[in-house]
Amino acid sequence: MKPWKALPALMLSCAATAVSAQSVEVSYLTHWSPETVALLEAAAEKYQETHPDVSISVRAVPFGDLLTTIRSSAGASAPTISGIYDLWLPELVRDDLVAPAPDGVASEVRAAWPDGIAAAAQVGGTLYGIPNEVNVYALNYNKALFAEAGIDAAPATWEEFTAAAAALTDAGAGRQGFGLINSWSAGVVHPFASLLVSNGGALITDGKPTLDSAEAGETFALYKELVSNGWSVPAMGTADANTTGPFLDNFVSGKTGMIIMANWWESALKAGMGDDFANVATAPIPVGPSGEVASSISYTWQTVVSATASAEEQAAAWDFLAWLNGEGTGEGDASAMSDILMSMGILPSRSSDVAANQDVLGRDFLAGYVSVLENARAFPIVLGGQEFTEALQQTLESLEYGQITAAQAQEAAQADALSILERAAR
């Protein structure tokens, strides 16, 4: 046979080999920044060195578009793996968009993660995701501004908190004592919920909204007091789709004395403040008049696998996730995922990752968050949770901008929550 006659067969053979070598394609959707995506891609490359039959691609969208992207690309074009906020899980499960974890993965998660965190990845006793990051809210304050205002220590009670906000406020210099956030549902609701639980209250108890409690009433009144006295200026708290914007700029530039935020924004503060980041300190949420102990709100993120992916893709995705979150795949005994999270100042949730990162978690900024984690309550994960959060956001923003009173805000928030949870249960 002439050599050229064998060429098509040779090409077909090469193509077939190439296809089988890259036979499973796994896509990973996240909202992380380009720097963090690069770390995830590096981890994926490391995994592919030992798994040449799997090809992993990473795609990032802004946080504000993440849920829409997951929902709108459901079907054949859905990302195989998605990083999700735990509040979204019940509805994704209801709509059959996410696949249950295989038994091996499920038992590993239940054994290697704290119970509360593993519970956030389950619906009806079935585990759907591998938790990775845990975020908790605490009070961040600018030590230099505190010293300038003659304040010696972080406020421990609401009384001290409002006194500090008043002392820090300098309207002439465009400085507010305490920064509220708006135009971003979690940024609005989580700080409110943190103050509420630190006042002994709760958003939802046993599936029923409890925003009509006296503790909630005091929290709404605190917001009104902060704004009406000019200690908080709502116009300085706008956030954009990337969860950055003026609220961050104002804290970074020393125009906000205190703010309640989650640990994940450490990297944004470092990038914006440079050496001045040393001025940022972390303290527990001040205790309200009806509260007994400093408390806070926590929430987790997890990775889920698309139910519409093929069985082969699902198997490859779970295997990659098990490796990514597995003990010893990163530095020392830590997982590769924990290395990525720690680069952003995010607390890992796997027990062995917490142990492996004790030194790093002990640094000033993060230690303040780790200390409040013990008394933190998980943000309620219920059907309709996202709509509930957005409705409460609207009410709080209306209160902040003086469109309604604290009493009206409380009444509207409870009525909205009741109707939303009732509709979601239909």
Binding site: T68, S183, A235, T238, A239, D240, Y401, Q403, D416
Partner: protein, 295 residues
Amino acid sequence: MPRARLSPILMIGPAAGFIGVFILVPMVLTIWLSFHQWSTQTPFSTAEWVGLRNYEDIFSALSVGRDFKTALRNTAIYTALSVAILLPLSVLLGLLVYQRAVAGGQFLRTVLFASYMVPMIAVALVWSKLYAPTEGPLNQILGWVGIGPQTWLAAPDTALYSLVLLNVWQQIGYFTVLAVAGLTQIPNTLYEAARIDGAGPVQSFFGVTLPLMRRTLLFSAVIAIINAVQVFEPVALITQGGPAGSTNVLTFHIRRVGIERSQGGLGSAMAVTLMLALIVTVFAIFAANRRGGRE
């Protein structure tokens, strides 16, 4: 069938089929879904008939109704203001750049149209920085002339109007080109006749230019309304509907309800209401135009 009758059917058939599949079917489906409770990510077979409940909900006093009515009102204000500013301004700028004898007219037209060609993502990024309340250039410029800082996108009282301003900046070039196209259709002889009859520039404008631009302005108004009602990108990219829902417009809200929350029935009811409002508005404009033409 006679060949003479078959021919038009063959000619019209492909286009009619295309319109039917890609326009009529989705419209009918949306109307049908608006009477159902349906999660967007589940098959149509899971849709459950709920009659008019979705319509009752979106006009109720509950949060779902309150948010929808706010979005409807915001969209109406945004649209009305955009059209009210764009049309007169485009005619004014059209008259300026239409002067063929003036050097640089072509250049000015190009500059005006350039804003329309800039991608919205770039416009959103730039304008969000321009509007920054504490360190934004707009407030700095106002400070030079003794005007205090404005809240722009950061307060409910000003956020929607700031988006209207952004929209006018981006669209004005397009509507100016339309106005220039309308001006070129007016014969010079009419202006000469008006001048001989003793008409000044103002009388010529109201007696000749404006009446003869009626068709152009009608077209511009309809396009401006449709564009404004469909506003989405600046809201999604800059304000996310806030603060306090002040920039939550219908397209953004329908996306949030129908896709993010997966409430397909409610989202469809909102979309149908928006479609009806748009149809009524456009018909009213055509009716007003016809009545004006007869008078």
